[in-house]
Each structure stands twice: as C-alpha cells, then as structure tokens.
C-alpha cells in the first residue's frame, strides 16, 4: 500500500533545527511562567474575550491544517481513489502533529488544567456540552492518528532495529495492519464529529456572534471548511517537500492537480452554500451593510473564490509555484472563516476589546515551530514519504486521463 515510502535521511541538527528549537524554548519558558502567574499573565484575555487567538489559531486552524489526513483519507479509503496513497502518510503525520499541538494549546489555556483528568470520568459528563464532545473526540482522534503513524515506526524498526526490536516489529506490524481498517474508519468518523462541533460551539452565543456568521449551519460550514483547509495543506506540504528536499523528493504534481480540482469544487460549494443558507435564513441583506465585521465576510468569500478558480485553472495546476499559492490561499480562506467566527465576528458587548499579546503570539509561533521540527525529524528518520512516485516518475497505477 505504501511500500515505496522511505526515510528521507540527511542531517538532523541543521541551523533551521536550532532556530525552531529556540522558538520552542521561548514558548516553554512562557508556559512555565503562566503555570505560576495565571493565564492572564501572558495573554491579553479578558472576561469579555475569554478565548483569544489560541482557540481559533492553535486549535481550530492547526487542526484544520491537520485535517489533510481526513480529507485525503476520505478520497483514498471511502471513495476508493487509491492513487492518493502516496499522500496519506505525510498527511497523517501532519494531522497527528496538528492535533497534538492543538491539544497542548488547550491544556496551556485551561485555567484549571489539572481538572482535565476528570475528562476520563464519565459519570461527570455533561452530555449537553458541545465542548465536551469536541474535547473527547479530539483526544480520541489524536490517539488514532498516532496509531496510524505506528506502521511507519515499526517498518523502520524491522529494517534497522536491534534484533530485539526487529522481532518485536515483525510480530506487531501485521497485527497493527490488520487492525488498521477499523482504526481508519474511526479516523473518518471522529473528524466529521469534532470538526463540525468546532463550529457548533458558537451556536451557544447567539447574541454575540454576528448574524452573517451565526447560523444553525455552523457545524456543516466548519466541516466543509476543514476539507478545503486539509486539501490546501496537503498541496502546500507536498510542493514544499519537493522544493526543500529537491533531488531527494519529487512533488506529486499529477495527484496534487487532481486534488486541487476536488478542492476547487468543494470551495465553490462552500461559497454557494453559505449564500444559500444566508438567503434561506433571511440574513443576506446584512452582507451589504458594510459595518463592523462585514468586510471580513467578503474577504472570506473572495479568498474562497480565488483559491477555487486558481485550483480549477489548468495553467495553475501545471505550475508548481502557482499551485502552491492556490493551496496557501485555500488554507487562508478556511482559517479566515474560522478565526472570524471565533473572534472578528464575536462581540461580547460594549466596553470589551481584544488584541493578542506578544506572549500569545510567541506561544502560537512556538507551537508551530515544534510541529515543523518534529515533522522534519520524522520524515528524515521514518518511512513517511513516497520518494519514488513523484511527478517525473511514471504513474504507478492508473493510465493518464
């Protein structure tokens, strides 16, 4: 299935590695300080804006980018488009990292973080709580993603481990593989649940979220936007890998092109659906009253449309640089929609203001650095990347169409 995946190899301790480590260390220091001095000591949060950038960026955007595993998995496993296999492993790794970082960020953000141990105590569950659904679902999915990464680690151990590890890997690899379809099914169900609920969270604030964003379709719109973000992240990742590790890794331009087409149509669907829902709920008129956060609504629509039309243009799909930009705009579109719902379109009432603090930004940057760092180390040491199936290599399975 992904037999052609191989470790990239190469030096681990590069200057870039140290730069990322430094940013991570800054974050660690801030987090340590926060443990003793309180959440407010490094954030600009207030009782009005009690969730700042950490929720919409570290959690909702990171996991949106991490949704590449879900979005490509959906094509590959449910719709039986087996050709996307070479993209699955790296996407799963990005997913595992994105979700782990998002989860870490939540723990840092929780005022009484030690209380989260009771998330393992079902008698206390409040089944009305959308946040509880998100929390349990994200925790479970995080575990699922790492289990999906497991075969890569076992393959490496079987190939290069000590005799003990070799025996261990040889014994467990087939067992994990046998389990995998049922794990993958979970990996399809769980994001459907929590990516929609991430939007559902703000259905609880009808008086605070602007009418252009507040709708009973929030869960569905968040689900669709995680698909476009996921596709965008896979497109960007594969192109970046080809550029950064040129000579070793070839981007899968043909596959990315097909993926881009899918993502383009999904983006168009998102835009059409969003307008239809607004019309259906009788709120479309608000889009033309240019006050408050309304310009941001149009910015989101423009970003979605730009990425969609770029994706759907053959010229863009054939050009690595342009396709990269299209993917980037695609991620930006989804991120804008999500950040706006959580912050820009959120108004707790007069007298409350929020602008992220340096501490909040540094923690976000630090978390992203940890993600990048671990990703680079893992693709160098474990068989994650399909090195032999890039654009210049002959297409492995299907004839050209």
């Amino acid at each position: 299935m992904s037999a052609e995946a191989r470790p990239l190899g190469g030096r681990i301790l590069t200057p870039f590695f140290f730069l990322l480590s430094l940013l991570a260390a800054v974050m660690a220091a801030l987090v340590l300080y926060r443990v003793f001095a309180g959440v407010g000591s490094i954030t600009a949060l207030t009782d009005g804006y009690s969730w700042g950038i950490w929720k919409p960026i570290n959690v909702v955007t990171f996991t949106g980018i991490g949704a590449g595993a879900y979005a490509v998995g959906l094509l590959c496993y449910i719709l039986n488009e087996g050709k996307y296999h070479p993209l699955v492993r790296p996407a799963v790794l990005v997913g595992a990292l994105g979700y782990t970082l998002g989860g870490t960020s939540v723990i840092v953000d929780l005022g009484r973080w030690w209380g989260s141990v009771f998330l393992g105590f079902p008698p206390w569950y409040n089944l009305n709580s959308i946040l509880l659904e998100v929390a349990l679902c994200v925790i479970t999915y995080m575990a699922v993603l790492w289990v999906e990464v497991l075969p890569a680690a076992l393959e490496r151990l079987r190939a290069d481990g000590t005799p003990g590890w070799k025996a261990f890997a040889t014994k467990w690899l087939p067992r994990v593989r046998q389990m995998l379809p049922f794990i993958i099914a979970l990996a399809m169900l769980l994001p459907t649940m929590h990516q929609s609920s991430l939007g559902g969270l703000y259905m609880m604030a009808p008086t605070k979220v602007h009418a252009l964003w507040f709708t009973g379709w929030l869960p569905f719109l968040f689900l669709v936007s995680c698909l476009t973000m996921g596709y965008g992240s896979v497109v960007i990742m594969d192109i970046l890998l080809g550029v950064v590790f040129r000579g070793k890794y070839r981007s899968h331009m043909k596959l990315l092109g097909d993926l881009a087409k899918v993502s383009g149509y999904v983006s168009l669907f998102y835009v059409v659906f969003r307008f239809a829902a607004l019309g259906w709920e009788g709120r479309l008129g608000q889009a033309f009253q240019f006050s408050g956060p309304v310009p941001f609504f149009w910015l989101e629509i423009v970003l979605f449309l730009v990425s969609a039309f770029m994706y759907l243009s053959p010229g863009v799909r054939a050009n690595r640089g342009r396709l990269f930009i299209a993917g980037f705009v695609g991620i930006l579109a989804g991120a804008a929609y999500r950040v706006d719902t959580y912050l820009t379109a959120y108004d707790p009432g007069p007298g409350w203001h929020y602008f992220p603090s340096v501490g909040e930004v540094l923690v976000t940057v630090g978390l992203a650095s940890v993600g990048l760092l671990v990703f680079i180390v893992v693709v160098k040491t474990l068989p994650i990347l399909a090195l032999g199936s890039g654009s210049d290599a002959p297409s492995p399975s299907r004839p050209t169409h």
Binding site: D47, L74, L79, T207
Partner: protein, 316 residues
C-alpha cells in the same frame, strides 16, 4: 478527467449527506424541551427606580462571600474609596450608573439565575449546575477553567481570576453558603431602599407586577404586538425567563442599562436542538462508523486483489 469529476461529485455527495443530517436538526425548533420556572426557584428583584447607587450591596456581597477589597480604581485613578468598576474575579455584584443627557439610572449587575441557563449547558463536567432553589452554582473540582461558560452567557456573568495559579470562576450564587452565617442574599439584606429584594421568583414577579399596576407611568415599557406600550419586567420571558428580574425607569430601556435583548427561548435552545438531533441515541455516529468501516474494508480488499493481479501479469 472523468475520474476526477466523479471524485468531485462523490465528495460533494458525502459532504451533502452530512449536511442533510445537520439540516434535519435546524428546523426542529421544539425538540429540546423547554424548562419551566420551578415554584421554589429563587432570585432577586432589582427596581432601578428605587436605587440610589450607594453600593452598600457591593460591600455586603464582598464581606458575605469573603472577597478581598478591590483597590483597582483607587490605584488606577485615585478614586476616593474602593469600589470595583465591574463584576470580576473578586466581585459578584456591582452598581453601574447610566447617564444620557439629564436622564440617569442605576443598574445592579450580578448573575441572573436563568431558568434554563446556557452556562450549565456549556460546562463540560457540570461544574456549573443548578442546585436547590434553582440557584446556578459553581463546583471547583469539576471546573477545568475552559471559560466556555463566559462565551455562552449572554449576560457575561461568569468571571475568571486571570492572575491566579489556581483560578476560580466567580458568580453570584444568591449567598447560598454565606461565610458570615447570615441568611439569604446579603445585597437584599442591606439595601436601605429595598431596591433589591430576594425571595421566590414567582413572588418577586407578583411584586413587580403590583408595582407596575400601582404606577404604570413610572416604569419602562415596550410596545406589544398590538402596538400598545406595556410596562415590562425584564426576565419574565427574556432568554426563556430568569429567576432574577428587573424593573427600569420610564424612558430608559433595559438595553441601555446593559441587559441584552433576548428572545423568549433560552439562548442555548438552537444549539441544543441541532446537537441533540445529530447525536440522538448516538445513532448517526455509529451508523457513519459502520458505513465507513464497510467501505474501507471493501476498498482495501479490492485494491489488494488488483495489486496481486498486476504482480501476476508482470511476473509472466
């Protein structure tokens, strides 16, 4: 080309099916059962026309709940005596002044003790929950400090201790466990003008309506469906009803005093309708899992077979 178009259609179909499931939930307005005001439910009645803004209630509240003196304004701009500018991590009630031209009115802020509160729906482990007399109470050990209660409360009532290593959520619990051994809400006990009184909500509502009946011109009213202006008790129906209620002076709306304009259904109603429809009996998630597992097993088998056939062909 064909392959990709089919993929697109299939992707849209799958997302569409999920959407249809979500859509089933949206129109189901009444699926989440409305909570009615319990006969023993307690609250406060604050009559802004009686308040003189002396803030004795704020001081009594701080004492009764063992809260520290709030010196923030003294330190910030040399205010002559300590008083909090708003409810916060260390203040459960505060008096605010509304001024517009020569009109002014006082306003008391504290928890509304909603009949069907959004915060208790939002809270992951039921830290915020209703106890005896319908009082919304906070339980330290079940709180993770996620602050989703703050997002979901339309009145911005729950407050967080931002600079504590072990922070708490602070909100009025009607002095249900007063540290100084008194009885009932301390604010109502000390109010020199009885601008705030406490008791069973049904009784408070009757008192409010009696005051309105005796002097309708004194109180703020809103135009009903027939266009006639009727004096209003805020909380009788607002946000599905609140156990703590308000009377405002004529000419000054509740919104100007800082209370949000709410529908008569609880604020969390729509969210609960959607969520409980999607997750009713956990049927939909289980069904999705079964379908996914079936498709995956089938597709992987097909693929393995195709792979084998390919190898055979190449072998020959």
């Amino acid at each position: 080309m064909n392959v990709s178009r089919r993929t697109v259609l299939k992707t849209l179909a799958v997302t569409g099916a999920a959407g249809a499931a979500a859509g089933l939930a949206t129109p189901a307005e009444a699926s989440h059962e409305a909570v009615k005001l319990a006969p023993d439910a307690m609250g406060l009645l604050y009559d802004s026309t009686l308040c003189i803004g002396c803030q004795t209630c704020t001081v009594a509240c701080q004492r009764a709940n063992g809260m520290p003196v709030d010196k923030s304004l003294v330190e910030a701009n040399g205010a002559p005596y300590d008083f909090p500018s708003d409810t916060n991590g260390y203040n459960k009630t505060v008096i605010k002044l509304f001024k517009e031209g020569d009109k002014y009115a006082f306003m008391k802020m504290q928890c509304m003790q909603c009949v069907d509160p959004a915060c208790t729906k939002a809270c992951m482990l039921g830290s915020l929950h209703k106890v005896e007399n319908g009082i919304v109470s906070w339980d330290a050990i079940r709180c993770t400090g996620c602050r989703y209660c703050q997002i979901s409360c339309p009145f911005n009532v729950p407050k967080f201790q931002w600079l504590e290593a072990i922070p708490r959520i602070t909100k009025c619990e009607l002095c249900r466990s007063r540290v100084d051994g008194g009885k009932g809400a301390a604010c109502a006990e000390v109010c020199p003008r009885s601008a705030v009184i406490t008791g069973k909500s049904v009784d408070l509502l009757a008192i409010a309506k009696k005051r309105i009946a005796e002097n309708p011109a004194k109180y703020y009213g809103e135009a009903g469906e027939d266009g006639k202006v009727v004096p209003k008790v805020y909380g009788e129906h607002d946000g599905g009803g609140t156990q703590t209620m308000y009377l405002a002076p004529a000419g000054i709306s509740f919104q100007k005093l800082g209370l949000p304009k709410l529908e008569t259904v609880p604020p969390a109603q729509m969210a609960m309708n959607v969520q409980h429809t999607l997750y009713r009996g956990f049927i939909l998630p289980v069904a999705l899992y079964v379908v996914a597992a079936f498709a995956i097993v089938r597709n992987l088998r097909k693929e393995a077979a195709a792979h084998k056939a390919q190898e055979k062909k190449e072998g020959k």
